[in-house]
């Protein structure tokens, strides 16, 4: 069986190489049969990798402990769902998942475009399959998922498996990695189209239009992946945080930042024909950052809490990145004359310039995060001393950047194209500014002035929320008057008429909610207490009484549980049961925190351990204000993104007024 799996991967590798060569030669020699054979090879790669993945999953589920991968990542007592998730629980399997997802995407792209873009498609196939080949080299020759243990050959007794890291046995962890991968891998597609478009010197923005949905969907996957990671860190790791600027987290954030910048700057190209080179740079940058992220999390280059697997694949990634980036840069530089901007910036106070500032600070943030993440590597190379920077560095630079972005989120969509008059600025921003100022004054009076950052953040959130609300209100009331419907059906109709614009506003609203949640950290409270059953302690306005300490065991782990009665003043608000587990297979303890989630604040209890004399429990209690808004914000963001994907009822034509203007000017000069 493992032989069939290994053979499938090997064959997939050969076919991927063939698809690249067939497509390119077919295109150059103008031989349509070769091109089509290249496309069919792409389908075959998918079939073969699906077979290999299926076999690996079957081995994981049935517990074929002869296989090194199965034995290292599962054990007999694990629930079936976690046996399944062990597919991406380890290096080899997750690389297989990467390759399989990419082959799936490639097959979909080839199939849906089989009658379109005949000129560009062979190159798109070639780029997709080159990336595929790279990952197949890794799993076919370097880290094969179907390696057999000594025990598997009958030389020593078979084990029962070592189990999946218990910290990963949690529901968000079931979907967090595949979501991130769907996002990471998905960016190969817009990149492939961009390259195809460059190589064939396509005029116009065909590649942007076709990949718009891909970009949005993969962006949503990335956002979901990152947010699930935050949710997991918050609920599982027991310190109550959701972001630590750890290299692995940063690796997932970097392509998200450039993807966000890309989503915004393509609008400039669609509407004004500007920033064409820049968009090429962004889409390539995002793709390479996705690969770079995969590299960073797997090669052990930078040490991290997540403790990467040390493995020999680092150098392969370095080569792939170096060659890929050099080739892409050379191609873009060679084709700059096909990427001339069709319009010029007319005023600093204009939609165009707000897009540029949005890109500027997103990129600055990306650069700062990258710099901070690689600081140990850079400093070692330059000074010979390995120096790292941590959270204060990242916060110091990213908090002001975030404020700038939030401000632009409010300003950008309302400001006029080309140039804005003072009058129109006043009309758009007078009430939102007043709302923000009033909120800030009220909050300051209630004591928030001690946290100036939080005050600014809430003010900006109010400002953006007010501008978004005003936009919906303005449009909806016009429709409601005209077609005599209520405001809410009018708002739905409004959104349906231009889903991109109003969906975008919803995404912005989601971001505002998330910022409200992030700002809550300024008001966190915590305490650590050693208490015997029967004892109690105080945190903020909560009174916490430990009533019981229980223990027990099941197949997978042994556990100890505390029962804690929480009350506020004299009213009881329920019982929380934080737990500690000790997983047998992996010999590792974990803590299962108890969280009372509310909109205004979370009460978060962690059973941190037992005192040396075994009589008292060490309890860490936290109050996290507004945390729930992060998760609410995510749902709003996801909904907004989905709205963007619904086709608009009214077809929009992108009239390039500015281009025409230039042409007229040009005509006048010559006549």
């Amino acid at each position: 069986m493992e032989n069939i799996g290994a053979l499938s991967i090997l064959l997939a590798f050969c076919l991927a190489v063939y698809a690249v060569i067939g497509s390119v030669i077919g295109k150059i020699k103008k031989n349509p049969f070769l091109v089509i054979s290249g496309e069919r090879a792409t389908y075959c790669v998918w079939i073969l990798l699906t077979t290999a993945s299926g076999l690996l999953i079957y081995s994981l589920l049935t517990g074929d402990f002869r296989l090194g991968y199965v034995a290292s990542h599962t054990d007999q007592t694990m629930p079936a769902i976690y046996k399944f998730t062990a597919w991406w629980g380890g290096q080899e399997g997750s690389l297989l998942l990467w390759a399989w997802l990419l082959s799936t995407y490639s097959a979909i792209v080839v199939f849906t475009n089989r009658h379109k873009f005949r000129d560009m498609m062979p190159w798109v196939t070639a780029v997709l399959m080159t990336t595929e080949t790279f990952f197949l080299i890794l799993i076919a020759f370097v880290l094969t998922p179907f390696g057999i243990l000594e025990a598997g050959r009958g030389n020593i007794v078979e084990g029962m498996g070592r189990g999946l890291n218990p910290l990963l046995q949690y529901w968000t962890m079931i979907i967090h990695p595949p979501m991130l991968y769907l996002g990471y891998v998905g960016f190969t597609v817009p990149f492939a189209f961009a390259m195809g478009s460059l190589i064939t010197k396509q005029p116009g923005e065909a590649w942007i239009h076709t990949t718009r949905r891909w970009t949005i969907v993969t962006w949503l996957f990335q956002s979901t992946g990152i947010l699930l990671g935050q949710g997991w860190a918050y609920a599982v790791l027991g310190w109550g945080g959701y972001w630590a600027w750890d290299p692995v987290e940063n690796a997932s954030l970097l392509p998200w930042i450039t993807a966000t910048a890309f989503l915004h700057s393509v609008m400039m190209q669609e509407k004004k024909g500007m920033m064409k080179v820049w968009n090429m740079v962004l889409v390539s940058g995002t793709f390479f950052l996705c690969i770079f992220g995969t590299f960073l999390t797997r090669s052990g280059v930078v040490s991290s809490v997540h403790a990467f697997a040390q493995s020999p694949i680092g150098k392969y990634f370095v080569w792939f990145l170096a060659i890929g980036i050099a080739a892409t840069l050379a191609l873009i530089l060679d084709r700059t004359k096909y990427l001339k901007s069709e319009a010029r910036l007319e005023s600093v106070v204009s939609r165009e310039s707000s897009f540029m500032f949005n890109n500027l600070i997103l990129l600055a943030s990306c650069f700062a995060v990258l710099w901070g993440t690689l600081f140990p590597v850079i400093s070692e190379a330059v000074t010979g001393e390995k120096i790292s920077v941590d959270a204060p560095f990242f916060n110091r630079i990213n908090v002001p950047i975030a404020f700038g972005l939030l401000l632009l989120t409010g300003v950008g969509p309302l400001i006029a194209w080309r140039r804005s008059s003072v009058e129109s600025l006043r009309r758009s921003f007078f009430w939102p500014s007043i709302a923000a100022l009033v909120l800030m004054v009220v909050l300051a009076v209630f004591g928030v002035y001690e946290h100036p950052y939080a005050l600014v953040s809430f003010g900006l959130c109010m400002f953006v929320a007010a501008t978004i609300f005003a936009e919906f209100y303005k449009g909806a009331s016009a429709i409601s008057v005209k077609s005599k419907v209520g405001l809410i059906p009018a708002a739905v109709e409004l959104t349906h008429r231009n889903t991109r614009r109003y969906g975008g506003y919803l995404v912005h609203m989601g971001i505002v909610f998330m910022f409200i949640g992030y700002t809550g950290t300024a008001f966190n409270q915590d305490t650590t207490k050693e208490v015997a059953p029967g004892g109690s302690f105080q945190l903020g306005h909560y009174n916490l009484k430990v009533t019981n300490m229980l223990q027990g065991e099941n197949d997978n782990y042994t556990w100890q549980r505390l029962t804690i009665d929480a009350s506020r003043g004299s009213t009881s608000i329920g019982t929380l049961e934080p737990e500690r587990r000790f997983y047998k297979a992996s010999q590792q303890p974990t803590s299962e925190v108890a969280i009372r989630r509310r909109l205004n604040e979370d009460l978060y209890l962690n059973f941190a351990g037992v005192s040396t004399d075994n009589q008292r429990a060490v309890v860490q209690a936290y109050v996290f204000p507004l945390v729930s808004w992060i998760w609410i914000g995510f749902w709003v963001l996801a909904m907004g993104t989905l709205v963007c994907l619904i086709p608009s009822k009214v077809r929009l034509s992108y009239a390039r007024t500015q281009v025409l203007g230039m042409a007229e000017k040009h005509a006048k000069v010559t006549s």
Partner: protein, 147 residues
């Protein structure tokens, strides 16, 4: 061209401010990676700079005393006898110790060396060899099997 000059000026200001913030951030949070034997040889410098030291937790050395935890870290578990590779660490930070922190775990202590030679850690990280791979030893078994 005036528009571009204005735009450029704003870009410069933004980038300048961010660079200034970044520099401040670096000097505020930079931490030197050192091995235990390097720390022992650093002399007075070790008491001034913020350090991050890697090592293995000596079995049985973890002592909890209220919120304070002390333990002994050793650079190389194979040469446990050598004192130059030992470091006593005291942790009294607020964050809970990670679940992976136990005897023989690979730990990373972040803090400053006290004048008494005890390392005052403000942060402790501990790892099994991988987030994903609970037992790395099996890997080597597998590679050995392949040979």
């Amino acid at each position: 061209m005036k528009t571009y000059a204005k735009f450029g000026a704003i870009v410069l200001v933004v980038v300048g401010v961010l660079a200034w913030l970044a520099l401040g951030g670096v000097s505020e949070s930079k931490t030197y990676y050192k091995t235990i034997s390097e720390v022992q040889k650093m002399g007075d410098q070790a008491h001034v700079k913020r350090l991050r030291v890697d090592g293995y937790v000596v079995p049985g050395s973890i002592v909890r005393n209220g919120a304070q935890v002390s333990f002994i870290m050793h650079q190389d578990p194979a040469k446990r006898g050598q004192d130059a590779m030992r470091l006593k660490v005291v942790y009294s930070g607020i964050d809970p110790l990670p679940d992976t922190f136990k005897d023989d775990a690979q730990a990373m202590a972040d803090g400053k060396l006290g004048t008494d030679g005890v390392f005052q850690a403000s942060k402790i990280q501990a790892k099994c060899a991988s987030k994903y791979e609970a037992k790395p030893q099996l890997k080597t078994d597998a590679t050995r099997a392949g040979m």
